[in-house]
Symmetry: C2
DNA sequence: CGGCATCCTCTTTGATACTG
DNA sequence: CAGTATCAAAGAGGATGCCG
């Protein structure tokens, strides 16, 4: 059935690509890294544009290759959860590095691109730092605008930064707006005032953000 | 012309994959990293299995995306050289990491796989170390067996390891044999004596190899 | 030769619809 | 919720032809 098209090269890179080189494969792994355990439909919403048969096929393939694990819950709940295996989690540094390489490409306008705030988790954890470790913890919320559930929570405190998909109780700062505005602000390419003028909705204390941005 | 099939996601990883996620793209970049400037036919021999029209299409695409540069020589020689741009060279850490992730997959037999000794350059430089920096430099030659030009030179000395595609004047050690035997020996999974029994041809001083392998 | 372009067949993808 | 079924369109793979 699965043609199992391999490069047929005895090379570590080619072997890796035989497993994760198929279209959509690394993005599926991105979702599983960012969200942890996932239902099928969670994956679909985090992977706008993927065809459902492709998602099913990739998950089967990745499972067979020991990257993904499938956990079927009991009949009463009738839910299936998809996880990364340990082997799969070892791909995280690869995704971080490849994402960092791709970061400059985010400068171009995103007209027509889909956008989920949780995709910013990796860049946020890589490029932002808590520059005031002794201060009280702060919480920042990023909201995509369109869908109220398209929200990422950034928590900083004690010199560390965490992200969580979904909202928070009482954030210090909420940024709501278009993808490029959020990214521009987080990347330090855009001042809050400029972004505001361009349509970003800023609610709360801007100092919470200043604390995380590189000096400049 | 080029349908320019993009993921349409405003995410750094997806953007990176829009550029280097196509089939064969990362392997082309591997060849350019390992060989430096390349003629079209050099790329073909280093990429067994690729269709010539695909190679041409990928090179065009990578050039348009600023990863590859094409250098046309003067009419008398009428040769075209392909390079990586600086941006392209920045992918090296990504390939190293992804290759390292794929390394365990090399344990499975390579029946029918193509094999070029120069594909071992990355693993050799990553996983071998000169454990006798004060000793005289040594040269080891890896030969694939079939084609006399399928040869990689490893030079170690002063605590550093270099590799070069092609042969050397007077190597201290020459290992000739099947892909898995070479890899098994370099990975320390196979003793020279065992590999010899399995068909590896060992000429010269085995101490040259011992110097580079992790203790054990 | 070196660097492709063309033609052809086969597989994969993408979009949509449908089901236990 | 977690997929399978179907089908048109695009892409991959292989052979060969062309042109400086």
């Amino acid at each position: 059935m699965s043609a199992d098209r391999t490069y047929g090269q005895y090379c570590a890179l080619a072997k890796a690509l035989d497993v994760v080189g198929d279209r959509w494969a690394l993005l599926i792994i991105r979702e599983l890294l960012l969200r942890g355990a996932c239902r099928y439909t969670d994956l679909q919403t985090g992977l706008p544009g993927i065809a459902t048969n492709l998602l099913a096929a990739r998950l089967r393939r990745l499972e067979a290759d020991g990257v993904v694990r499938r956990e079927a819950a009991q009949p009463p709940v009738a839910i299936t959860l998809f996880h990364l295996t340990e082997r799969g989690k070892e791909l995280e540094p690869v995704l971080l590095l490849l994402g960092a390489w791709g970061a400059p490409l985010m400068a171009e306008p995103a007209a027509g691109d889909a956008f989920c705030t949780h995709w910013l988790s990796f860049p946020v954890r890589q490029f932002l730092h808590d520059r005031n470790p002794d201060g009280p913890p702060v919480t920042i919320l990023l909201a995509g605008g369109g869908d109220a559930r398209n929200v990422l929570t950034i928590e900083a405190g004690g010199g560390k930064i965490h992200t969580r998909i979904g909202g928070a109780e009482s954030p210090d700062l909420v940024l709501t707006g278009a993808a490029q505005l959020l990214v521009g602000v987080l990347a330090g390419k855009l001042r809050l005032s400029e972004a505001k003028a361009a349509g970003l909705v800023v609610e709360g204390d801007p100092a919470a953000l200043e604390r995380l941005l590189p000096k400049g």
